[in-house]
């Protein structure tokens, strides 16, 4: 051996529990090698006594230590070392690269026998598992300079040993010819750690040298992140490395591209960053977003580093890179590298099929569909749903989307206001039947019971793999009084909440372990809170409780994902919250979205109990024909569920049971506390927050606790051990479950057939809340309004303006329905209405027509008591006598007049309002898309999920 080798070992301060033993092993491996380097320099951080002691204690000869101050990089360390004057070869090592006995010998042989080779790179193996390859050669794509590992994570069976010529390699263990090292300029500090070896190899090839992989030279590496790429089995390292990789990539693009293309490359970096943001989200790696943009911006403005790199290349370049094209990554190598993520998802597939069809889920949903079709068959003929909180959705789905975030309200004369997130829920719903948005609400009603059953069945798979348990949950959830009450009273938002709650449980319960689930849960949570803003405190409370639980049990991993679940909901409510705070009306954030529907708030403890269980605000006499004294009787129907839920606390998985009880408590408190908030008003009435969604939350907690108990109560045992005692035990569980279904069906029966008997609040609608005459004239023009006047008593009336062909679900933003003071436009409207109903001067009509009001509708909704009738008649007489109004006549919705003078259109959104609207669209659009991408399942995420149990809290279960 004639060539003299100078080995440089870089050690980092890092975690001394790793660096000290790793350096010890590396040094002892060098000492034990068949060939030892002629000089060894260990670069250690200044003042690190532990590492210096390791160096001092080493038996290696020719060893010296060099100390460096501060937080130095691998390149800094290497460049700080004065090479031995006689050294012909430089061996680059880190604290955690322990060469095997023959490694240096093999590397030397290549360099000595082939003078054109500048670099010999060993095969890097895993520190603790010598059969797995960490890295064996790196290349990159030819035009986009994407680094591609030739081999990474494979088991080493010598199958890759035939590859000799490579473009580059991991920097660790590289043996570099000093002559070449100096001619190509050594390491480039622009590449902090990642891809140093690739850059060095690339410049070597340009300098008419060759780079050779030496598979027989084996070096063990531990992935201490001192140099080279991270350990592919360590996700934390992969995260840390991401920023480096991206920076290196952008830097390569700017330094390797032909000079003429650099401006275009520079311009392409931001779009690329955007693209990688999307793919990062899709790959459930949200942490890549900041790293991606950071890397892009840093690279774009690192003009000095790019210039230095380009100078280095220019200085080194001897041949054109077309001469080594074959070394760049081909399509196969690229796709192999992209697919190699499989290595990280290992382990057996533990998850069994969900058994939706074989487990009876499909039959239950089908049965519920039939039941629903029978109970709600009158809806098949209805054009739209009317009554209670149900209004049409307008004519166009596009209009719904357009009204999201910031728009002119569809009812009233107030200027443009912030819209509720509820508009988004309605937009999604309306888009399902985009040709006739209102039909989607009819469909929702028809499919509510089967969809509730389906969602609950799926949710139950988190708790039990027993078909009967899942069936119990599905059937009971579809029969819950809170759902039926919402259906009967036209509470669209409460129906949506009831249908989505099981899905929230299904996804949020595993948010801890996957970003996909956390993102899906966050979307569902946003929809739920948008439909029922009063659930926002409950959502935050439950999240905080979950985080507290994680803190107590010291589980840091996944806490961020749990924290994420309520975040989009909070973000979507943020502008509204700020706006309500600014008008000193903070409670109004919690007000129900959508139409304001007056209802009878419970005034006795028993009635409040009824509300907890979702029973209608109708009295017991009306619903069950029971006298008030027996009104507690229907509540007994929940006794079997409580028996189960109580048992759950003393069975296995009791921590889960306690959390379900707490959810039940949160829901029950909601049904009692929130109706005390009378925030919204319609006409002269103040309306309390509807109890329904909270009741659904309480009932979900109860049902899930019951399901947990049913699962634990009913025990499977091998056939031979079936005992009499077990038989009775299981039989009692089934009897209790059966009783729960029967009793709930009995209690829900009166509510179930209300639509069928025509006694429900909901009834057939015509697709509009205005007379057909107005619909015909106003349908195409949302800029024309109809002034509605409702006499309340002798000297009191309420009025509003409905724009376009109908009042809709989204025409009543809470910003207006909870507003505390009248704005200028509303004061003017009040005066206008007084003038119209008290006198017959045409002057008032001129004001009407300027505002875009083409019709006046005098309604008689308040009943025909004499007091309001008097005002009704006198108003009608004043309107009739008005020469600028043409009487259209009596319609089913009241007396209608048409403004007979030309009507100008409603003032559109002002320029600044349009800007606000567009800006909000842009910001929330990007955010929403990001969350959607994060939630979207991919091959990888499905593979990962298959390796995790479907049920939750199984550890507790095994205990």
């Amino acid at each position: 051996m004639s060539s003299r080798v100078h080995a440089i070992i870089v050690a980092s301060a890092g975690d001394s529990s790793r660096s000290v033993p790793h350096l010890e092993r590396t040094l002892s491996a060098l000492g034990a090698a068949s060939v030892t380097p002629d000089a060894v320099t260990v670069v250690v951080p200044e003042g690190n006594a532990e590492l210096l002691a390791v160096v001092a204690n080493s038996a290696l000869s020719q060893l010296n230590a060099r100390t460096l101050r501060g937080n130095f990089s691998f390149v800094d360390a290497v460049q700080s070392v004065q090479l031995h004057p006689e050294a012909e070869l430089v061996w680059l090592l880190s604290q955690d690269s322990a060469p095997k006995r023959l490694a240096l010998g093999h590397l030397l042989r290549v360099l000595e026998t082939t003078p054109t080779v500048a670099i010999a790179a060993p095969k890097l193996l895993r520190w603790r598992n010598e059969h797995q390859i960490v890295s064996q050669g790196v290349t990159m794509t030819r035009r986009t300079y994407r680094a591609v590992d030739l081999i990474r994570g494979d088991f080493d069976q010598g199958q890759h040993n035939d590859r000799e010529e490579i473009l580059g390699a991991d920097i660790r263990g590289m043996l570099v010819r000093r002559k070449a090292w100096e001619s190509i300029g050594g390491l480039d500090r622009a590449f902090a750690r990642a891809d140093l070896g690739l850059d060095l190899g690339y410049r070597a090839w340009l300098g008419n040298w060759r780079v050779r992989a030496v598979p027989t030279a084996e070096v063990l590496t531990a992935g201490d992140m001192v140099a080279g790429s991270a350990d592919p089995w360590n996700p934390v390292h992969a995260r840390r490395e991401y920023l480096q990789q991206r920076r290196a990539r952008y830097h390569r693009m700017l330094s390797y591209s032909p000079a003429g293309l650099v401006p275009f490359v520079w311009l392409a970096i931001l779009p690329m960053a955007f693209w990688y943001t999307l793919t990062g989200l899709l790959a459930k790696r949200p942490w890549t977003i900041s790293a991606n943009w950071g890397a892009a911006l840093v690279s774009m403005f690192a003009f000095g580093a790019v210039a230095a790199s380009r100078r280095k290349i220019a200085k080194a370049q001897q041949i054109s890179r077309t001469q080594f094209t074959s070394l760049f990554a081909d399509h196969q190598q690229l796709s192999d590298a992209l697919g190699s993520n499989y290595a990280a998802i290992s382990g057996p597939v533990t998850r069994r099929s969900i058994a939706f069809f074989s487990g009876g889920g499909a039959w239950i949903v089908l049965a519920l569909l039939v039941l629903s079709a029978v109970l709600f068959y009158p809806l098949l003929r209805w054009q739209s749903l009317a009554g209670g909180g149900a209004l049409p959705l307008g004519d166009s789905a596009l209009e719904l989307w357009r009204s999201a975030f910031f728009a002119l309200p569809g009812a009233g004369v107030a200027p443009a206001v912030l819209q509720d997130p509820f508009v988004l829920v309605m937009s999604v719903l309306g888009t399902l039947t985009f040709w006739a948005p209102s039909t989607s609400i009819i469909l929702l009603w028809l499919l509510a019971m089967p969809l509730a059953g389906f969602g609950a069945w799926i949710a139950a798979t988190r708790l039990s793999d027993k078909a009967a348990v899942r069936a119990l949950v599905a059937v009971l959830w579809a029969l819950m009084p809170s759902l039926l009450t919402a259906l009967n009273e036209g509470r669209v938002a409460a129906v949506i909440v009831h249908l989505l709650l099981p899905w929230l449980f299904y996804t949020a319960s595993v948010a801890l372990r996957s970003w996909g689930s956390a993102a899906a849960a966050s979307i569902i949570a946003t929809f739920i809170v948008a439909a029922a803003p009063s659930l926002l405190p409950a959502l935050i409370l439950v999240t905080l409780a979950a985080l507290l639980f994680l803190a107590i049990t010291r589980q840091a991993r996944g806490a961020l994902r749990v924290l994420w679940v309520p975040l989009p909901a909070i973000l979507f409510f943020l502008p509204l919250a700020i706006s309500q705070f600014m008008t000193a009306n903070p409670w109004a954030i919690l007000a129900d979205s959508g139409p304001v529907v007056p209802w009878l708030v419970a005034d006795s403890p028993l009635a409040q109990l009824w509300q907890i269980f979702g029973l209608s605000s109708l009295g017991s006499e009306q619903l069950f024909g029971l006298p008030d004294a027996l009104a507690w009787l229907p509540l007994l129907a929940f006794a079997p569920l409580f028996a189960f839920a109580g048992y759950a606390l003393f069975a296995r998985r009791y921590v889960l049971a306690i959390s379900f009880w707490l959810v039940m408590l949160v829901g029950a408190l909601g049904t009692m506390l929130f109706p005390a908030l009378r925030l919204a008003h319609t006409g002269a009435q103040t309306v309390a927050i509807w109890f329904g969604p909270h009741s659904s939350v309480a009932l979900l907690g109860l049902l899930l606790a019951a399901a947990l108990a049913y699962d634990a109560w009913w025990q499977r045992r091998p056939l031979q051990r079936r005992t009499k005692r077990l038989f009775w035990r299981n039989l009692s569980a089934h009897i209790l479950a059966g009783t729960a279904v029967v009793l709930l069906a009995v209690v829900s029966f009166p509510a179930m057939n209300q639509v069928l008997r025509g006694e429900a609040v909901v009834h057939a609608g015509t697709g509009s809340t205005l007379p057909a005459y107005v619909t015909a004239s106003g349908a195409s023009n949302p800029s024309l309004g109809t002034l509605l006047i409702d006499p309340i008593d002798q000297n009191t009336l309420s009025s509003t303006v409905v724009w376009g062909g109908t009042d809709t679900m989204i025409s009543h933003p809470t910003k207006i329905t909870t507003e505390l003071i009248l704005n200028e436009a509303e004061l003017q409207q009040a005066e206008l209405v007084a003038d119209l109903t008290r006198s017959s001067q045409p002057g008032a009509i001129a004001r009407l027509s300027q505002e875009g009001i083409a019709f006046v509708l005098l309604r008689n909704d308040q009943g025909s008591d004499a007091a309001s009738n008097e005002l009704l008649l006198s108003s009608a007489s004043a309107l009739n006598a008005n020469p600028a109004l043409d009487a259209v006549g009596s319609t089913e919705r009241g007396q209608l007049w048409r403004v007979s003078i030309p009507v100008s259109e409603r003032e559109p959104l002002s320029g600044s309002d349009v800007t606000i609207s567009r800006l909000m669209w842009l910001l929330y659009g990007i955010f929403g898309l990001s969350v959607l991408l994060l939630a979207m399942p991919t091959v990888d995420s499905v593979r990962r999920a298959q390796r995790m149990p479907r049920q939750i809290a199984l550890a507790e279960r095994r205990s």
Binding site: A411, G412, V413, T553, N585, W587, L609, G646, L649, F650, R652, Y654, V655, I658, W661, L662, M664, L665, M672, P675, A676, A680, H681, T682, G683, A684, T686, A688, I792, N795, S799, T800, I816, L820, L822, E826, L827, Q829, A830, E831, V833, A834, D835, R838, S839, S840, G843, A844, A866, N869, E870, L873, S874, A876, S877, N880, A881, A955, E956, S959
Partner: protein
């Protein structure tokens, strides 16, 4: 989390679980019960409203049509002819100006009809007019007085009859520039019905339609009419006169009553003790147009003492007459309280020596703002205080203290409009009921005082 097998789980961990379970149930039950039993403070936002006066509208007063008689033409017994035109008095309050009258033609009789007085909006003063007709001929005899009234969309008429000898005529006057369509619902012994000829009666703009009541209600003894106008309001009046044998026995104008209410007041009823009887009687006609129920009639004397009380069962939509007795002659007020909205009016025969006239005492609306009235010559104004507290009002500039439940009469009032001034109501119930009546020998008539429709309270608007 406990990580042992069920059977082998340490007792301590099982006890711990039990404690947790019991704690959870106790917590849940305690919190729910606490909230059920103790009221939770809520937040209640007031609905947004604003009181607006609105711009005043033009005031229109329609005086009664001339006295019409049927059967004067031997060729056509149903032909109506004019017997006499009413005399008018009144004008604008605090103004020397005599307003100009516009005469509405009676379209189907082809004679001049009622006079209409108009005052443009915002012109200031209040307009008040009244009419009287004192007839003594073979066709009719008696005194009728009426206030010139503002048109309304709905009018309730209590009085008149379709029986033999009664020749009642309904006039529908439309002073507006818009055609009106009137529908009449009659209430009689068989309940409510819509006479065939009373569906969709067209009353063209600025005209009057006169209809013999017998053509609508045939021989109904105690008719009540509900007149509903569409498109434009009308003034509906019944000119009631009766002939017994060949002797005319009285005449009256019956004007619109206030809308049905649970409390109805007929103020200032003058009852006289006849020679052969020991009580002064009057019949009160009652109708509950919506639901059956019962009404209590209280007769209160001028000093505010209740002298009699009668409870009358009411069948929905069937008018009944109830007899009220007073121990002696004098001025009384009838207060009707019912458990369902009712209408009421009192009828009395006014017999002095040989002469006979009958009188309809109408119920009147509560006056709670300043009201101008024109009092016909010789008539007196009666004011009833329904409150249990004394009220201070002023009549024609003279302050008057009204004792609780007292009825006070004012006579010798000028022919110019008189202002009944009511200070801003302190309590909700404050306000008075008033009528104008003449009760002389053989001549009796009355009308109720109502506030001008243009002088209404502020309108409370809930805009959105």
């Amino acid at each position: 989390m406990v990580r042992s097998v069920v059977a082998k789980r340490p007792v301590s961990s099982r006890i711990l679980q039990g404690v947790w379970g019991v704690l959870t149930v106790v917590l849940a039950v305690a919190v729910v019960v606490a909230l059920l039993l103790f009221p939770w403070p809520g937040v209640s936002a007031e609905p947004r409203s604003v009181a607006v006066a609105g711009s005043a509208s033009a005031q229109q007063l329609v005086c009664p049509a001339p006295i019409l008689v049927a059967g004067a033409d031997a060729q056509d017994r149903s032909h109506l002819s004019v017997l006499s035109s009413p005399s008018l008095n009144g004008g604008e309050l605090d103004s020397e100006l005599v307003p100009e009258a516009r005469i509405l033609e009676i379209s189907n009789v082809d004679v001049n009809g009622p006079a209409v007085f108009e005052q443009a909006a915002n012109s200031g003063g209040l307009l008040a007019m009244s009419a009287w007709a004192d007839i003594n001929s073979v066709e009719a005899r008696g005194l009728a007085i009426a206030s010139c009234a503002e048109p309304q969309m709905e009018s309730w008429l209590l009085g008149g009859a379709g029986e033999v000898g009664a020749s009642d005529i309904l006039t529908l006057a439309n002073p507006t520039q818009v055609n009106s369509v009137v529908s009449i619902t009659a209430f009689g012994l068989e309940g409510s019905f819509v006479p065939v000829s009373a569906r969709q009666i067209l009353v063209p703009a600025a005209t009057t339609v006169a209809l013999p009541l017998s053509s609508l209600i045939a021989s109904e003894q105690r008719p009540v009419l509900q007149v509903i106008a569409e498109l434009a309001p009308v003034v509906a009046t019944v000119q009631s006169s009766t002939i017994q044998g060949l002797t005319p026995v009285g005449m009256e104008w019956i004007q619109a009553s206030p809308s049905p209410a649970e409390t109805v007041v007929i103020p200032g009823v003058v009852l006289q003790l006849l020679e052969e009887s020991d009580s002064a009687d009057a019949a009160v006609r009652l109708l509950a147009p919506n639901d059956s129920g019962s009404a209590t009639l209280s007769l209160i004397d001028a000093a505010g003492v209740q002298v009699s009380e009668v409870t009358v069962p009411l069948s929905a939509q069937i008018p009944v007459d109830a007899l009220l007795s007073a121990p002696g002659s004098g001025r009384y007020t009838v207060v009707v309280t019912a458990d369902t909205p009712v209408l009421a009016a009192a009828k009395d025969n006014w017999v002095t020596a040989e002469l006979i006239d009958y009188i309809w005492w109408p119920s009147t609306p509560l006056l709670n703002s300043d009201t101008a009235i024109a009092v016909p010559p010789g008539a007196s104004l009666s004011v009833f205080n329904p409150d249990s507290n004394a009220q201070q009002i002023s009549v024609n500039g003279t302050a008057v203290q009204l004792e609780p439940l007292a009825t006070v009469s004012f006579s010798g009032l000028p022919s110019e409009p008189v202002l009944i001034s009511i200070p801003d109501a302190v309590a909700e119930a404050s306000g008075v009921y008033a009528n104008v009546s003449i009760t002389e020998s053989g001549r009796a008539a009355a009308f109720g005082v109502r506030a001008s429709l243009t002088q209404q309270a502020e309108l409370l608007v809930y805009p959105q």
